[in-house]
Symmetry: C2
């Protein structure tokens, strides 16, 4: 309703007779502008083309939705959102790939890892859903979507290796096959479409949106207004708000403009705000994860994380000023990021060539990416520890001591100092050359977001489902609690995107 | 607008012609039901009669508001909210009372303590306001309100003693003089008035509320609907949501119905939700403080906290199963509460009679309350450590060892194990009798809440002030960050209640 039409309306006192006699109700009485006519009508309106949005669209197709009943929109000029630049690993507990590698895993073990790292804040019903459906999701990706997997790798905080890596070490390894399948089914994302308002009817059901087509990111008034009706529901799969400095600072005032982000520039969180404006609840919004594995020697997510996540457990993380270790290398992301921020300058992680060539390159990181990392000096190589110490001005005596002690711990598979976890195939760091990365955290993932139930329905501040409104992925909160474990969010996006599609298909 | 009238309206398509031509705007288009006529009109509508609400009403009076221009409402049958059962200490940094006790303090020191305990989440501008105005607020309480202060006491996490205690060790020592003053000025709280909706006009300004008079707490449909117009603004001073199990569990799923609360039963947070429903932002909602000093041997806030907060630094906190210390006794509330929850059963804190009679009874705790605590066995007395060990089944050898070590640390004023802070007048625990309290945490304070700026204006999810809407005290978030220091919230309530009144008086 425009202000003008409302003013006309409000001046018509006669119509308002019923107002004072109304029962005491709470909640937003009306939100969004109900259009005179809808410009377009669809069944499922899916906002965002990352893991959650694509998975939802595919699931709806497999459940029999006609192609005109699935509308997938994205405000950016290219599809894939932040997912397409993601590290390309999905958590699954109990797969054939794990069994082949001799890894014993189960949904219960994954659930317990999630709850432990969540520090008590994880919503158990949501974590349970992800752990329980992780293997089915991995098989769906492999069999229905055609994703190719390369290896099962380790990410800090998990009890076992359960992160299933795509061939190209990138989220595009998931998103591109999904987009191809969608194209095959006649469903193509509509780009440069930004949603400005969620529209509810007088029964407080979400019935559509006000949007703009031809929107150009960065030109905030660009595009043409359209009203899109959604008969089966609206799914917010539009990601988090890592790139929205003002919004993230309201929750965590430390994260000012001096902190950069690993995310694509469109991660600005408007859809969360728009849902809040129609009375949706947000939870745990101040848990904004810093990636502990980004390098100050490159921008964005970069290639350093691929190296680092396979180096933890294979070599020590040290403070170059002291030459000493300062944190459990296999600790969760928050533990590590906070520890690096606390020392106040970038730290180093290194390991020897035997580990790099055996466990990292060709496994978690392609040779091509490794070459790129070497050429750009994100990874540096030193023939000896002494050369490394000289380059970074590390006290050499202490570095040698630290290295020897760490080697002893590796052999004994026991770290009495920090509790680092070791793997069977790790080799002590005796023979050079050594490969080193500098680390400084970057804003990476918003653990908080819209509150949903385990049908992916968005809940109001009163705790009731808002009919017709769904959310999945980084736009939601509660799944991860305090600390998200690597590769779990990818599973979260896909699993809850698909759950949302299943529920919408019943509407 | 009622659903009925809206339906009538929406059927009138002709009126809606302007809708599709509207500029792209965001935000809730309309909230609350605009009444045909207002039943009552006031200047400042203040919701809540605790520290924040009473302070705002008094400040408005002192700034020249006429008595008909100040309306103070409360949903409960008695005034004072949770404040009236509070511990009765207000933080102030640099007062005459501190100087008399030889305590060196400053606004900067208090600000730094607040930011440190806030763990980086405190909104600096809000913390700064409190630290800067703390002495003026203390003097206002003393000189304008007539509050009588007894002593300056220590609360964990502060650098120095700066918690100014009322004569009766209760928040009623603040609230009752405030209510008396208000009565003197002809301003009496209207009780059993619950606010159901905040009403905005078409310019998105808050212009009043829909409420019910004659409401009976617990009878959710009771009372008669009234529309109250507020020409200068609406202040939400209605407290937190510690008693709302569903709402608090959405943020922290651990805090189920098995956790009791120190709060009065009306601390159910509806006003926060109602502000959310018109697009207000909430921040840091998952930081819900557990009080580490409540005893399982009594209900609610109880008397144990008065004893405990003066015993920290004077005696050890031990795990009865091991007889060992496990945490820094003078650590902040979160550190202590988490440590007790982690051991999984109640712990003990004790000190000798010389400390109890010198430092606790008659200072932080009246003799009457101490007698009550002894009679109800909240505090127990044992002639010797051996008797105490036998009663609680503590391994005696270890208890003796722990006690001797703690005494050595007290003498050296240095605790290498946990960093406990000691005071000049503390006496080693050598001679009995010993006084003991059992401790188990209880839900105590919601650090998160509505986002405000330093004029106490509520901010929208877009980060803009919502014109006409203010909030102060526990209903707001950002002041305390992760951990609230004892007695700072009382200052927060009063200072931001008064700031809100000052800003409303300019409207």
């Amino acid at each position: 309703m425009t202000n003008q039409s409302r003013r006309q309306f409000l001046s018509r006192g006669a119509l308002l007779g019923a107002a004072t006699a109304a029962a005491a109700v709470s909640g937003p009485a009306f939100s969004g502008e109900m259009p005179q006519k809808w410009d377009e009508t669809t069944g499922l309106l899916i906002i965002g083309t990352g893991f959650a949005g694509c998975a939802a669209a595919l699931e709806a197709h497999y459940l029999g939705a006609k192609k005109g009943d699935i509308m997938l929109v994205d405000k950016m000029p290219t599809p894939g959102g932040n997912s397409i630049i993601n590290g390309g690993v999905v958590a699954a507990a109990g797969t054939d790939m794990q069994k082949k590698d001799g890894i014993k895993d189960s949904a219960d073990l994954m659930y317990n890892d999630m709850l432990k790292s969540g520090g008590g804040l994880s919503h158990p019903a949501l974590a349970r859903r992800i752990a329980d459906e992780s293997v089915a999701n991995y098989e769906w990706l492999r069999d229905k979507v055609g994703v190719k997997f390369k290896a099962v790798v380790y990410h800090g905080g998990h009890s076992v290796k359960r992160s299933h890596a795509t061939m190209n070490n990138s989220g595009s390894g998931f998103v591109l096959p999904m987009l191809e399948k969608l194209k095959e089914f006649g469903i193509e994302p509509r780009l440069r479409v930004i949603v400005d308002q969620i529209i509810m009817n007088d029964k407080k059901e979400v019935v559509g949106v006000k949007a703009r087509t031809g929107y150009r990111f960065g030109k905030e008034n660009s595009g043409k207004v359209v009203y899109i009706r959604a008969t089966k529901g609206v799914l917010i799969a539009a990601g988090g708000f890592s790139q929205n400095v003002k919004f993230r600072m309201s929750q965590d005032p430390r994260l000012n403009e001096k902190f950069t982000s690993t995310n694509h520039r469109g991660a600005t969180g408007e859809m969360i705000m728009e849902a809040q404006e129609i009375g949706a609840n947000t939870v745990q919004m101040d848990w904004i994860q810093l990636g502990p594995w980004t390098s100050p020697d490159e921008q964005g997510f970069g290639v350093a994380p691929l190296f680092v996540e396979s180096t933890v457990g294979y070599g020590p993380m040290i403070d170059p000023e002291t030459g000493k270790r300062f944190i459990k290398e296999t600790g969760n992301r928050k533990v590590r990021a906070d520890a690096i921020v606390a020392i106040g300058h970038p730290c180093l992680i290194y390991t020897c060539e035997a580990n790099v060539m055996g466990e990292i390159v060709g496994r978690n990181m392609t040779e091509k990416l490794f070459d790129h990392a070497m050429k750009t000096n994100v990874v540096r190589k030193f023939a000896t520890l002494k050369e490394m110490a000289d380059f970074y001005k590390i006290p050499y005596d202490q570095l040698e001591k630290t290295n020897n002690t760490f080697n002893e711990y590796m052999k004994a598979k026991n770290d009495p100092d920090f509790g680092c976890q070791f793997f069977d195939n790790s080799k002590p760091n005796v023979e050079g050359p050594f490969y080193v990365v500098r680390l400084w955290p970057r804003v990476h993932h918003c653990m908080g977001g819209l509150e949903i139930n385990d049908n992916a329905q968005v809940l109001s501040v009163r705790g009731e489902p808002i009919k017709g409104l769904y959310a999945a992925g980084e736009a939601t909160g509660g799944v991860h609690g305090m600390v998200r474990l690597g590769s779990v969010a990818v599973a979260d996006c896909m699993i809850f995107g698909r759950i949302a599609a299943r529920h919408m298909m019943k509407n």
